[in-house]
């Protein structure tokens, strides 16, 4: 009797928890849970470590900074003007590194002698941390736009070059020979042969340049500027207003993550379409062979 009364109600609402259960088990709820988890973790760390500001304080600060409200006293929020100062430096640094990176990549990838002579130099430059360029440019050029732009360019440039070299070396040799045999030359050769093959690597290089350049521009501004995102972060850090510093960290991470995920990853995937299609084709063929062997 008692078992029946227990069993009946547990089955009746069984459907509703089932739907809720499915909702809880969905990917969306998992992602939501991860953000909640991060916020809770952050809150806990701030309780434990008083130097680390809690989320509410940081977002409040960010809001004041964005809307230009008062931080107390005469200090007012500044936000857009610092992005406005940083973005041109960033863009120019990336543009130069792309330009020179492609030139260097074509030179090294296209000539055996240049490769032997220059490749290790390139790898050395890849290994150099951005902070060295930030320090060197400050010592060379003092405070100002030049130091920041050149830090960005020097940090990002080797990564572009390395990717272009890889792209050029990945153009299948047979394909090159074929185009020679059919006298496909000049513009058409560039348009249909070299560009599609290199484009994917070029975008990969661009993505590297942007991510590494962003770190470099922030470092450059931290040490050699009096405005900009990196400088403003340091400003609050030096003022011991850690909530301000963390608010800027949130802002510059959000900027690069959005740029990377929404623009660069898509561009790169688009440019690499042909290669991925080819790969999956090969995999499919390998599977067919496996099936054939198993069936034999």
């Amino acid at each position: 009797m008692s078992s029946a009364t227990v069993a009946a109600p547990s089955r009746a609402p069984g459907r509703a928890p089932n739907r809720i259960g499915r909702m809880l088990r969905s990917d969306g709820s998992a992602r939501l849970a991860s953000y909640v988890f991060l916020l809770v973790l952050w809150q806990l760390i701030s309780l434990y470590e008083e130097r680390f500001p809690p989320p509410a304080e940081v977002f409040g600060f960010l809001w004041t900074e964005v809307t230009g409200g008062s931080h107390g006293g005469i200090v007012r929020g500044e936000f857009w003007e610092h992005f406005a100062a940083t973005l041109p430096r960033f863009a120019i640094g990336i543009a130069i590194s792309m330009l020179l990176g492609v030139l260097a990549g074509v030179l090294i990838g296209g000539s055996k002698a240049a490769e032997a002579l220059l490749k290790d130099t390139l790898l050395m430059l890849v290994a150099l941390p951005a902070i060295i360029w930030a320090f060197l440019t400050q010592m060379w050029l003092g405070l100002g736009d030049y130091a920041v732009v050149i830090t960005t360019f020097l940090s990002a440039f080797p990564f572009v070059a390395v990717n272009v070299v890889q792209g050029i070396q990945a153009v299948p040799r047979d394909l090159r020979r074929m185009s020679g045999a059919f006298h496909i030359a000049g513009y058409r050769r560039l348009r249909h042969l070299l560009l599609p093959a290199v484009a994917g690597y070029l975008f990969a290089g661009l993505r590297f340049a942007v991510i590494i350049g962003w770190n470099a521009v922030l470092l450059g501004e931290w040490f050699s500027s009096s405005e900009g995102v990196g400088w403003r972060s340091r400003y609050w850090y030096d003022a011991n207003r850690y909530q301000g510093f963390v608010a800027w960290v949130i802002a510059f991470i959000a900027f690069i993550v959005l740029l990377d995920r929404l623009v660069l990853v898509r561009l790169q995937r688009r440019a690499f379409r042909w290669r991925d299609a080819q790969l999956s084709d090969m995999e499919r063929r390998a599977e067919e062979i496996d099936v054939a062997v198993a069936g034999a």
Partner: protein
């Protein structure tokens, strides 16, 4: 020696000559490459920038030599390398369980997906300064930032490694009546290990850069601290000497220690069928 059959001996000899030839070519390439680097540097120093802006290789080389023979190198590298090692220990410690969850459950994969994806594009300066804010000037700052940088790579690779576990081998172990723990030790762990190691390798270059940056910002010893020290002394040659020593050391560590270790641990993968 008489016990060794002739045919494999001949093959071994051929292989030897092949590797020697490859080695000779490798050494030649190395000489040309390093020569090219020094040449470019010397030319830039002498004719483009001038010896003050870009000190010539000989001057930097002399300082590097001084650092090496004075024992300063040893004193500063030991803490740096130890922190790097602790940091990777931390990354493995946290990355393994996360990778395990991601590899075995769809929900947990979705849970960690965004964090792991975003981690790769976070600027290194974030880790450096946050470690400073949270921990102050401490030896644990670099450890924390190395751990945070490397951890997503370890997690992703462990998850992928778990995907790669051959269910047929698990079935075989079941058929021969092996216990759960034995199967984990003999099938799952060896399948995942190369992936976890690849995660460490992948994140190595990134991790030591961030570690150095963290030392620049908040440390009272280590290579990064020395670089900052030289910067504050306005000594370009000193800075270049430290950073070059560090890069050379890291490249050697990666080429010789990590690669050798990987080759030894996973030698079963590299052996070719006869």
């Amino acid at each position: 020696m008489s016990g060794i059959p002739a045919a494999p001996a001949v093959r071994a000899e051929q292989r030897l000559s092949l590797t020697t030839r490859r080695r000779v070519r490798g050494v030649a390439g190395f000489v040309v490459g390093v020569g090219g680097f020094l040449l470019i540097w010397a030319v830039l120093s002498a004719f483009v920038f001038g010896g003050f802006t870009l000190p010539p290789p000989a001057e930097v080389g002399r300082i590097m030599w001084d650092i090496l023979v004075s024992g300063e190198f040893f004193r500063q590298f030991v803490p740096t390398i130890l922190r790097l090692a602790y940091g990777f220990g931390l990354a493995l410690l946290i990355g393994f369980p996360i990778g395990y969850l991601m590899g075995t459950s769809r929900w947990w994969r979705a849970f960690f997906h965004d964090m792991v994806m975003v981690a790769g594009s976070i600027p290194g300066i974030t880790y450096a300064v946050l470690a400073l804010v949270v921990l102050g000037i401490s030896i644990w700052g670099p450890v924390l930032s190395v751990g945070l940088v490397a951890m997503p790579y370890v997690a992703i690779n462990v998850a992928e490694g778990l995907d790669s576990v051959d269910r047929k081998l698990v079935q075989m172990s079941d058929a021969f009546g092996r216990g759960r723990a034995t199967i984990v030790r003999n099938v799952q762990v060896p399948s995942v290990a190369p992936f976890a190691f690849a995660g460490v390798r992948l994140s190595f270059a990134l991790a030591w850069k961030v570690e150095q940056l963290t030392e620049v910002f908040g440390s009272s010893s280590g290579v990064g601290f020395q670089i900052r020290h030289e910067f504050e002394d306005f000594s370009i040659p000193g800075m270049l000497a430290w950073v070059l020593l560090f890069i050379v050391f890291m490249i050697l560590l990666e080429r010789f220690v990590l690669t050798r270790l990987e080759r030894h641990l996973f030698r079963w993968r590299l052996e070719d069928r006869p």
